[in-house]
């Protein structure tokens, strides 16, 4: 279904070489369909984070280009880092308000939107709390709320749950899928977990390092909404096996 629609963005021959001569990415061609949940799966050091930063415009590509379907999405891109990356001096409400503040929006007018976002991520009642008073999982929720508050068309996530315990990670995976379906945005999700990528995405691309390139692609045809009980479903386990085998072959 996603393959048939027009892509939101397309990477055309994107490459990245660092000044020290290391080639991080080589000739990446990748189209991301509007509304897709795409995971980029690969071992650490394969350039998947660099790829994400190139899409966000935070790092320039040294070859190729990023083609956007409808002009560029300036201000309509959300980014979630591996660390929550919150401002420690600001309370939760001010942290979530940050992107709107930078876009010149007024705090009073945006209050309902911020409240709704905090509620959607289970952060109601924590408005005046400071980041250090929260657990890692809750901090990551704040980070996701901050990324979604601008109603982005594209959400880029760089191993956001890698540092969390598995119980928290499972819960956040399910909540993220709910948010994705409510907000109807496109998500590009970088991870090194096979199980996470299969659970979340409708499409997975597998990358290998030195230089980083896409070696394999898998469509995950499991129906949404996906719930926690999917994790024990034979269909899910079978897909995980398939992706694991491809990953093993690619990195062998």
């Amino acid at each position: 279904m996603e393959d048939a629609s027009t892509p939101l963005l397309a990477l055309v021959g994107v490459g990245k070489s660092f000044r020290n001569g290391i080639e991080a990415l080589a000739r990446i061609d990748l189209a991301v369909a509007e509304g897709a949940f795409l995971s980029i799966l690969g071992p650490s050091g394969c350039g998947k984070s660099t790829l994400l930063r190139i899409i966000a415009g935070l790092t320039p590509a040294t070859a190729g280009r990023v083609a956007w379907q409808a002009g560029d999405l300036k201000g309509r891109i959300g980014f979630v880092f591996q660390e929550p990356t919150l401002m420690p001096w600001a309370n939760i409400r001010d942290n979530v308000f940050l992107p709107l503040r930078l876009q010149g929006k007024s705090r009073r007018e945006e209050a309902p939107r911020i409240d709704a976002m905090l509620a959607a991520l289970g952060l109601a009642g924590f408005e005046r709390v400071y980041p250090r008073e929260l657990s890692g999982g809750m901090r990551m929720r704040v980070s996701i709320a901050r990324a979604l508050v601008t109603e982005p068309r594209l959400l880029l996530m760089d191993e956001p749950f890698a540092a969390l315990d598995e119980i928290t990670r499972f819960k956040l995976n399910e909540d993220l899928l709910d948010l994705w379906r409510q907000h109807r945005c496109t998500i590009v999700f970088v991870t090194h977990s096979v199980f996470e990528s299969v659970f979340l995405s409708d499409r997975i691309v597998i990358m290998t390092p030195r230089p980083g390139r896409i070696v394999s692609e898998v469509a995950i045809d499991l129906p949404y909404p996906r719930r926690g009980d999917l994790r024990t479903d034979p269909a899910y386990v079978e897909r995980c096996g398939e992706v694991s085998r491809r990953l093993a072959r690619a990195t062998a």
Binding site: E83, L98, L102, Y130
Partner: protein, 265 residues
């Protein structure tokens, strides 16, 4: 809670006990060896002198304190402004920073006479000397702080198209606050030292005599108990400045910075 009180009691009682023991030893040594007061006065005599000369010494202290606080204020304003300027342009930082270092490493005693000759007004010349000593920690620390903003937060600000001013106002300045306050705490003590050194160089002359000139004067006249009393007053002032700035720092950083958090139970 009771454990907290116990620790707090220890933190006050332990150094106090050491202090009292040392003072008692000092007094005993002076008495047993019958050391004359113009060589070394006992602490009781110093306390007595402080009590007697207190009012006149306090007048001198206000002169020194005014110089110190004015120098600290100038260091905060000019040091902070210079650091912000540095943060705007790497070229500016590279060009000017070495001169700030030169100013810092030049012994104030050696340039104070020149400054006192060049600047006509006594108060102003002493202020300039104290300022030179005090401003470097603020410049150096604040510059470091402004450049220590979380790289991912910087990226996030760029992603949302933040202006230079927004990055400074909402990211670099808050990130620099703990560093700036650490600099101010060091500068507070240095401003007092700078003021005292400058007064020493300026000598006892001049209508407005600060505490340092009283120390010099007492030394010349061999009024050693008064010298000790003035010295004691100076130390207490330095401690008070440090304590006040530490309190301010903790107040401003409460909620978020590691340095202001209570220790783990």
């Amino acid at each position: 809670m009771s454990a907290g009180w116990g620790e707090r009691l220890h933190r006050i009682a332990a150094p106090l006990a050491v202090g009292l023991l040392m003072l008692a030893g000092w007094e005993a040594m002076v008495r047993i060896n019958s050391i004359p007061p113009y060589i070394l006065p006992g602490p009781l005599l110093v306390a007595e002198t402080l009590w007697r000369d207190g009012p006149s010494l306090l007048v001198s202290l206000t002169v020194t304190l005014r110089i110190s606080l004015a120098a600290l204020a100038a260091a905060v304003i000019l040091g902070g402004a210079l650091a912000i300027l540095f943060a705007q342009s790497r070229l500016l930082e590279i060009s000017l920073f070495p001169y700030a270092v030169i100013l810092q490493v030049t012994p104030i005693v050696s340039i104070a006479p020149l400054i006192i000759i060049w600047v006509n007004d006594t108060f102003l010349s002493l202020l300039v000397c104290a300022w030179i000593v005090a401003f470097f920690p603020i410049v150096a620390n604040t510059t470091l702080g402004l450049n220590s903003a979380d790289r991912n937060l910087v990226a996030l600000f760029r992603l949302y198209g933040a202006s230079r001013w927004q990055v400074l106002r909402h990211l670099r300045l808050p990130s620099a606050l703990p560093y700036f306050l650490a600099g101010v705490r060091i500068s507070g003590g240095l401003a007092l030292i700078g003021a005292v050194v400058a007064e020493f160089v300026a000598g006892t002359g001049g209508a407005s005599t600060g505490l340092a000139s009283r120390i010099l004067e007492a030394g010349y006249r061999l009024e050693i108990p008064r010298l000790f009393a003035a010295l004691l007053l100076l130390s207490l002032t330095g401690i008070a400045i440090f304590a006040a700035l530490s309190w301010l720092s903790r107040r401003l950083l409460a909620h978020w910075h590691e340095s202001a958090l209570p220790s783990e139970e």
